[in-house]
Symmetry: D3
């Protein structure tokens, strides 16, 4: 029993250098996939975020919501077309996107964080003109109200975070005419992390991390190594945009970027506060 | 032409004492009804809010959304029952309420304010646990997820307002178990105004103001006079809760409360910055 | 009647973009001429200043006082000589200048502002060594205690303005030996505006503005156009120093400069807050 | 020579407990009489004020100007009547008072302080509505624009002092209609000291201090002893109002009050920083 | 392996409510006994302190040093007499006390904390007059320079802690004549905790905690229960002063007090951040 | 008697320009030699420091302690070897150094300052890792735990000084492994002065100042002149390192450096606040 107690203290001690390193730093976490669906994982996610907060970091959550949007559209009998993984978004679809992301998913995440003992505050990218976008064009094709982030005003996030709250951001942006657009959540998280000068960008995914050609997880990747994995075809189609997102974030001033396995409970804590991570760290 | 120019300056000069009186003060505006539906009124509302902001006040918007919710429910083939004017809210209805209020209406108002030159930031009453509610019971009957505000944490509103943004609040609250509830928007606005120690509570309505027995608008009403109007039956059923809301706000420390005619363009400016108001002012 | 009410709101709405643009900005107003003499104009001037203050700007008044000085000197039987429009200032004259500007005119303006609901605080250019001057020499001729501003310490003005007061400055400066000198009020206002990094310099005059060769007021003048008007002889002798003052202020970092007709009531409001100005705006 | 050097250090060391006691404290000094007229005394006064400032106190000067006013009135052929030592002040006289106090004397004192290495800023009691007065009535007789201080707004003095400047205040006040009035400088200094919660009130006079019945200076007087001196007739007519002023100041919260001999160079330093004072200290 | 990883996260998650509760709170830790002597325990102590710091608390260390003092005195051939457990302290002994506590032990603890990644700053109770004492008298007997704490100036501790350093305090105080005295470290820690309004007082000891009559550790004790243990003789002579110290601290406003077993590595972490503590908690 | 009083004021007035010049500036004083041993000089030193503090400067004391260390070592029967004036410091010697400097001398100086009315706070160079050192090597010879300052963290000194305390620093540093080392006090004072951007470095010595070849004190020396004195052999062996220390401090950004005669009472005041200094000033 004393031994077991001792083991407990060892875990806390192991966390010390990480806590020290990230003290008062901003960590942007893209929340999505399984971690957003399974009940247990949702709770463990919220606890992780609140724990980071109380350990002195400033976590910022950016969330997706594709499956929830798809489900409602199906109920409404509306089928979506996808181009290169992006949903073609007409006006009716965008109305659903805003209601689901801004009204349902965002509020639920705030509720989870509040329940875990933190104080979440929901925002969307149109609050304070946070995400300014331009319409995305894919291979000359207009895919509707889908935007590329052109400019970020991180003011609302800082206003909320500096008052002790945990910002939870839905990836919706506005163009120059004030028209709302859907943004890919990874891209929104990356752009926000750059604008905030974040210490970390963490992408929660449904895979183990980046895999080498033998199918084993790679713990650490330099930018050069990451680009090589794309070039030589090791990285598959689903992973490429995530790798690019991390590489871009590093280029934009973020200190480190992680792709981690959101299917593991407390994946964020394990990756950030223990020596044995549970994903892939990208570094300069 | 010179005469006309002179007239312009007179209007500005007439506004001076009001601007002085409200300088740096918080003004909570309940936004609803026609003013939220007609295109022109929506624009004039947003301009009024932004103008108050630039004239040195700190406006806070609380909005309703009943018609928009009803419309969607109808589309979904779901009929609502009403008890004493309140929608009986089952879980499915509440899901729609959250999506419409938090995801659609809230964002649209933020967008209007941004377009008028201000910087809105949307919040719901679950952000930072802003509105804590208990389930409302009407005559012994449970009407579902409808809540009475029991406690207000105005922290998120102040965090946003003190950073130069205009808070736009959806009237959703959470009970002790973190379950979201619908709140009457007038009640939410009144409770928030009290918690903020607001100078003013302004309810935008679809009527001219409080009418006397002859059907003429009453410009100013003391608390005692207001209560008398209810007692003697002059105030009709629709007006009674609004009068009560204003009287309660005065009791809770708000300096003045207004019921104004939201069907007039720039009703807020006219009531707050000119000698000839366009509604009924309640005072101690 | 409703129409008339509507018109009122239009004026306020028209003012919005100007109020927004000048929010928290410093506006230096040179006050002189008729606007300082006629009773009605004095009151309307004070109201304008107080209104700018409450609309979120930071007005700073610099005043002249030539006629009042002349009047006293006449009473004392002392005739002044003028060189290029500047009063030759011997020691006895300077004593009168200080008493009239610092003791009489300055206090009266403070009183007007206080009466209009603001809080004025009078300063002279010797307070805190605000205006450091060197003796002016005109064509090799010494004209007595008349100074050119060489250096400005805007500290006392900021101390007063940052505490919520409206600074009212008499154009008196000191040389390196601490000897007081008279300064041209336009020049003092311009130098102070530059030192404060003001948004606006506004010169109240007794003319309609800058006129073109046909005698019509010019609404807007670029620096190049203004200099051309001097070169080609369109600008007359009285106007040239005022144009130069505006051009110099723009060169010193002030964003815009106005020559306006102080004979119109509320000229400042009309020029600054309505689309149809009442003078000439100089811009880069 | 070494001995002489040693003596120097003794003086500094003797000053230590006083400097410590008054550190960061407000000291209001009424400046008047000979100390304002003789050239050497004027310089030594200014040095004393600047030294107090640099030793960490916050000196505030309130000045009179009776002789200078009288001189000008004589030049103008206007004779003043005095009632109980107060000048009957008609409108023409008041105009002279304002010009002399606010425009001449105030500026000269600011100039002296600047020359001694400090940074003075002149204020009058109408700045920011500092001194609110009601018309004084003496034995049922109206003596014109002479006021009793009823209320003090010490805001402008603090704005100036907190920015590192030394406030120099002319004893002019305004009544409820904004009409300026003359105030006795001792009374103005006392009222300001109370409003500021000053540590010290120091009245510079042309006498040695309060004298006992044998004609010897009394170094320290309790309030009770001071009142006894008035009751038993020891204090003469000129001294009584000064004693009353000190007693009132103590009653209003000032910690100590001094009547000192302004005819001695550096009287302020000697009274405040050495063991052997040069006047009379009033204490509770 | 995944299981083991999961266990790690559980420990962190278990710590969350404690971290939240103690966020930004002051925790005063009395450091002494074995924990100060064994090499491993010294390191684990320092890590615990640094970890508390990075988890957002403000730890303050107060240390003893009896054994080290005794050792030197033995080397010097000087035998100490003890009265009720307190060392009779003559002048020569006090000189040794100051050198050992202030010069050796204090510096070593600062060094340990620095090595563990924190930034310690050593203080003694004479710094800034932190501990004012009066000479202790035991049963009418003078035991030399041993003091009771009469007054605490926590200013130096706050100055250091508010700048991000960890204060390490040696229990030396001064009497009214500036003479240094030895203070019992438990008493010093308790008095400092009260003065700081600390959340916690933690006494590191060489026992398991407070034992019941059966010799088993008691996890939690109310003040009443603690006093009963003294009254009924369950608490032995060595434990009584420690219990009294904790009870006094609670009486002085400290929220909770702990007697913990300093012989266990990371005893502080285990008691403060895990559900299963390792000592006795005193509560109101 | 009046004459004598006048003389007192003259001394204060003479101090004015110095007080003004040093207002709010940091002055680092190396305290050592006779001034630390003779009872009267100790008291006069403490008074000087407190007086500087109350006159608005921020004094920082760095002290030596060689004689006190030597005395104890002699008592312990341990003889020190010296190389180029530096004590060869083995581990046992270093233990004594830490106890004497950090535990005895430092505390005594704090006590002296407190007694004189200031609030001292003792620090050593290991607090907050203030002095980072590397082991000194003299002519290829290891002289034990004697360090050269390589890096200074002035944080702890500023934390203490900005809270109104007077920092008293013992010259102990730590190397990269956290091992404490002895530092020459002059060198420590110089390095700290550079790191703090001090206005002044003052070395208290047991000589009159720097002497010329005729044996007369030199009042002022430029850097070039100082170096020439070393080159031409005028400066003797004991003086050379002190001159070098002053020259290095000037090179590191300190505005002025003084070598003064600590055998004179109040030498610091006399050098800093009177026209006739008592040592040698080094200037650029």
């Amino acid at each position: 029993m004393v031994d077991e107690i001792m083991d407990r203290s060892e875990v806390l001690v192991e966390a010390l250098p990480y806590i020290r390193q990230f003290s008062n730093k901003i960590v942007v976490i893209k929340y999505g996939g399984n971690a957003m669906e399974a009940h247990d994982l949702r709770e463990s996610f919220a606890i992780d975020i609140v724990l980071l907060k109380y350990m002195g970091m400033r976590p910022v959550v950016v969330h997706g919501g594709g499956p929830q949007i798809g489900e409602i559209l199906k109920t409404l009998g509306k089928e979506s077309e996808f181009v290169e993984g992006l949903r073609v978004t007409d006006d009716q679809t965008m109305e659903v996107v805003e209601m689901i992301l801004g009204g349902k998913v965002n509020g639920e995440i705030v509720g989870l964080i509040n329940k875990a003992g933190g104080q979440g505050v929901g925002l969307t990218g149109s609050d304070g003109g946070m995400f300014k976008v331009e319409r995305k064009v894919l291979g000359g094709r207009d895919i509707g109200r889908v935007g590329n982030v052109r400019q970020v005003n991180s003011g609302p996030v800082l206003a909320v975070a500096d008052s002790g709250y945990i910002p939870v951001v839905a990836p919706i942006g506005v163009d120059g005419d004030g028209i709302t657009h859907n943004i890919n959540a990874d891209e929104a998280a990356g752009a926000l992390a750059c604008s905030l000068g974040a210490e970390k960008l963490v992408l929660l995914t449904d895979v183990e991390g980046v895999l080498d050609s033998g199918g084993n997880r790679i713990s650490r990747l330099s930018v050069a190594e990451a680009l090589a994995l794309i070039d030589d075809g090791t990285a598959d189609g689903g992973m490429i945009p995530k790798i690019s997102c991390c590489v871009d974030a590093l280029g934009g001033g973020v200190k480190g970027a992680h792709i981690i396995d959101g299917r593991l409970p407390h994946a964020i804590l394990l990756e950030m506060l223990t020596d044995s991570g549970v994903g892939t760290l990208f570094f300069h």
